[in-house]
C-alpha cells in the first residue's frame, strides 16, 4: 500500500546503474518511487502510478524523452506534473526544446551531484 503522506516520484531512465543510485537517494530522502526503463513504459507508469514529479532522461528506447514530455503536456490530467529533465545532452537547442515543451528544469547529469538533484526536486515540488 502506498503511503498517502509520501510524495511520489517516477524515474524514467534507461541506464540501470544511474537509475539505482537515483532511486536509492530518493527513498532515503523520504519519497516514494517507481521506475521505467523506456519511454513507453514511462507513459504507462505515469497513468498508473500518478507521480507528483517525473525525472526524465532524453535518450530512451521506444519513445525518447521529448516525445514523452510532449504526451504528458498534451494530456489535461497529467500536464501539471512537474517534469525535470536529467540528461547528458548539454546543447542549447536541446535545453530550449525541453523548456519550450514545458519541462520545469533541465539538468546535465555530469554537472550535478545527487544532492543537487534532490534540491531541484524539492524546489519543483514547492
Amino acid at each position: 500500500m502506498s503511503n498517502p503522506e509520501k510524495k511520489k516520484i517516477l524515474v524514467i531512465e534507461d541506464d540501470r546503474s544511474l537509475q539505482n543510485a537515483l532511486l536509492e537517494i530518493i527513498s532515503q530522502e523520504g519519497f516514494e518511487s517507481e521506475s521505467a526503463l523506456d519511454g513507453e513504459e514511462g507513459i504507462a507508469k505515469i497513468k498508473t502510478f500518478k507521480p507528483d514529479l517525473i525525472l526524465l532522461d532524453i535518450i530512451l528506447p521506444k519513445k525518447d524523452g521529448f516525445e514523452v514530455l510532449e504526451e504528458i503536456k498534451k494530456d489535461e490530467t497529467l500536464k501539471n506534473i512537474p517534469v525535470l529533465i536529467l540528461t547528458n545532452l548539454e546543447e542549447v537547442d536541446n535545453v530550449q526544446k525541453a523548456l519550450d515543451l514545458g519541462a520545469t528544469n533541465y539538468m546535465v547529469k555530469s554537472d550535478f551531484s545527487l544532492k543537487d538533484v534532490v534540491e531541484k526536486i524539492r524546489a519543483a515540488m514547492k
Binding site: 541506464d15 546503474s17 544511474l18 539505482n20 543510485a21 537515483l22 536509492e24 537517494i25 532515503q28 547528458n88 545532452l89 548539454e90 546543447e91 542549447v92 547529469k109 555530469s110 551531484s113 545527487l114 544532492k115
Partner: protein
C-alpha cells in the same frame, strides 16, 4: 633554413604523416603540378619553335591546361578530404565524450550513495578503505573534467560555445576558487597571498566560464610551484578594466615555447617532467572564454623562475 626547406618538400614523409595516398596528398599534387607546368612551358616553347603550324601550339596548350585543371581538382579533393577528416574527428570526440558521460555520471552518483551517511554507517569502512574509495572518486572526477574539457573544446571549435554574460563580482569568484583548491594548496604547502582591491566594480562576463578560467590559472600556478612555494593572486581596477594576476615562482615556460602556450593540446617540455596528468586544454579553453567575454589573457614566463598570467576584463557599463 635549408633543412627546413628540404623537410617542406619531402612530400613522401608529409603524406605518410597525414596517412593519405600520394594522389590524394595536396603536398605531392602541388609539386607535381609545379613540375608539369615547367615541363609544359618548355614543351610548348619547343613545339612552337619546331613546327610552324599554329594548331600544334594550340593543341599542346589545351592539353597542358586540361592536365593542370585535373591536378588542380585533385588538390581541392585532397584538401576537402583533410577538412572532412577534421569534421569527423570533432564528431568522433563528441560521440565518445557523450558516451563516456553516462558511465562516468553513474560512477559519480553511485559513489555518492555509498558515501551517504545511511550507507557508510552500515558499511563500517576502515580508514584505509576510505582512502581507496576516495581515490576512485578523485579519479572519476578527473575523468569527468577531461571529458567536459573535450566537449567544451569541440563546442568552441564549432562556434557553439555556451556563454551567458551577466554582471559578476570577480573577487567573489577568486575567493571561491581559492577555497575549492584548498586541498591541493595544503598538499603542496603553498603560501597563497591574495590581494583583492576593495570596492571593485562588477564585470560583464560568463560566471561559470570565468570561474573555470581563474580556477585553471590558479591551480596551474600551484601545480607548477615547488613544494612550500608561494603564489600571489591579485585583483585590481584600472578604471576601465579589472586586471587579474596570478604569479608563481615555479618551473616556468621556456621562451621558445611561448607562442605555443595557448595552442590546443600544448604541454610545455619542462611541464611534462613535473606532472603527467592533463591534456593541454586548460589554457586553450581559458583564452577562448576570456576573449568571448571581451577580455584578454596573456602571460610572462621564464624557465626555472616562474610565470605570471594576466586577465583583463572590461568593467560592466551598468553597475547593478
Amino acid at each position: 633554413m635549408f633543412w627546413k626547406f628540404l623537410d617542406d618538400v619531402n612530400f613522401i614523409a608529409r603524406c605518410k604523416k597525414y596517412n593519405i595516398g600520394l594522389w590524394q596528398c595536396p603536398n605531392f599534387l602541388f609539386l607535381a603540378m609545379g613540375f608539369l607546368t615547367v615541363v609544359a612551358m618548355f614543351g610548348t616553347y619547343f613545339a612552337s619553335k619546331s613546327f610552324d603550324d599554329e594548331t600544334v601550339t594550340i593543341v599542346s596548350v589545351t592539353i597542358v591546361a586540361a592536365i593542370i585543371l585535373t591536378i588542380g581538382s585533385l588538390i581541392i579533393r585532397g584538401v576537402e578530404r583533410i577538412a572532412e577528416a577534421n569534421v569527423m574527428k570533432n564528431e568522433f570526440i563528441s560521440i565518445v565524450s557523450h558516451q563516456l558521460c553516462g558511465p562516468l555520471s553513474a560512477i559519480k552518483w553511485n559513489m555518492e550513495v555509498l558515501e551517504n551517511d545511511e550507507f557508510s554507517d552500515h558499511l563500517k569502512l576502515t580508514s584505509k578503505q576510505e582512502v581507496f574509495l576516495k581515490n576512485i572518486k578523485d579519479a572519476n572526477d578527473k575523468m569527468l573534467k577531461l571529458v567536459g574539457q573535450l566537449l567544451e573544446v569541440n563546442r568552441i571549435d564549432e562556434g557553439r560555445a555556451i556563454l551567458k554574460s551577466e554582471n559578476i563580482d570577480l573577487g567573489e569568484i577568486v575567493d571561491q576558487t581559492i577555497a575549492e583548491l584548498n586541498e591541493l594548496i595544503l598538499e603542496k604547502e603553498i603560501e597563497v597571498k591574495r590581494r583583492i582591491a576593495p570596492d571593485l566594480p562588477l564585470v560583464f562576463a560568463d560566471a561559470a566560464g570565468m570561474k573555470t578560467v581563474i580556477k585553471s590559472l590558479v591551480s596551474n600556478a600551484v601545480k607548477y610551484s615547488r613544494q612550500k612555494g608561494k603564489v600571489e593572486v591579485d585583483l585590481k581596477s584600472t578604471g576601465r578594466k579589472i586586471i587579474f594576476t596570478v604569479k608563481d615562482w615555479g618551473v616556468g615556460i621556456p621562451r621558445y615555447q611561448h607562442r605555443k602556450v595557448f595552442e590546443k593540446f600544448f604541454r610545455s617540455a619542462n611541464e611534462a617532467r613535473y606532472r603527467t596528468d592533463g591534456i593541454g586544454l586548460g589554457l586553450y579553453l581559458a583564452r577562448s572564454i576570456v576573449e568571448n567575454s571581451g577580455g584578454k589573457l596573456w602571460f610572462e614566463s621564464e624557465a626555472g623562475k616562474g610565470s605570471t598570467f594576466f586577465i583583463s576584463i572590461p568593467i560592466a557599463q551598468k553597475q547593478f
